[in-house]
C-alpha cells in the first residue's frame, strides 16, 4: 500500500474569496503579520501496491480529470510515506 498526495490550489491569477475571508478572520482574531491566505484542497489516495511511475502518471491523469479543474486550478502529485496497516501514515 502506498500513499499519494494530490494538492489542488487555485492558480495565482484567480481570485480566492475563501482565502481572503480566512485572512480577514485571522486579522480579527489578532493574528497579524500575514500578507495573504490561499485555500485549496488536499487529497490523500491510498494505492493498492507500489506507487510505480505508471501508476503516478495515472493519478496525474485522474487529478487533471476529476480532482482539479485545470482551467482555474494547479495541482501537484507526490508520493508520501507508506501507509501502515492501521491506515495512519508511518512515523517520520
Amino acid at each position: 500500500m502506498s500513499r499519494v498526495v494530490v494538492d489542488v490550489m487555485l492558480k495565482p491569477e484567480i481570485l480566492d474569496p475563501q482565502g481572503d475571508a480566512v485572512h480577514a478572520a485571522l486579522g480579527r482574531l489578532g493574528f497579524d503579520g500575514i500578507a495573504s491566505v490561499r485555500q485549496g484542497k488536499r487529497f490523500e489516495l491510498a494505492l493498492t501496491g507500489e506507487a510505480t511511475p505508471e501508476r503516478i502518471e495515472e493519478v496525474e491523469r485522474a487529478a487533471g480529470t476529476l480532482l482539479a479543474n485545470p482551467v482555474i486550478e494547479d495541482f501537484t502529485v507526490r508520493v508520501e510515506d507508506p501507509v501502515r496497516p492501521d491506515g495512519r501514515p508511518s512515523e517520520r
Copy 2:
C-alpha cells in the same frame, strides 16, 4: 516574505463521505487500484518577514483556532519555499 502551509485532514477515525464520493467517481472513470481517498484542506499563508519559530507557533495557534476543528481534524504546519515578489512560489 515566507510561505507556510497548513494541511488539515479529518482524523483517521472520522468518516469522510466526500472522499468516498471521489473514490467512487474515480472507479466509474476507470481509475482502479485505489484503496481509499481522504479529502482535506490546504492553506498557504504568506507571512511578512521571516518564519521564525515564534511565528510558526502563532500559525499553529491560528490553525487550531480557526483553520481546523481539533475535535475531528488533524493539522500540520510547515514552512515551504520562500515567496517570490510576484507572489508565486520560487522555483524548486
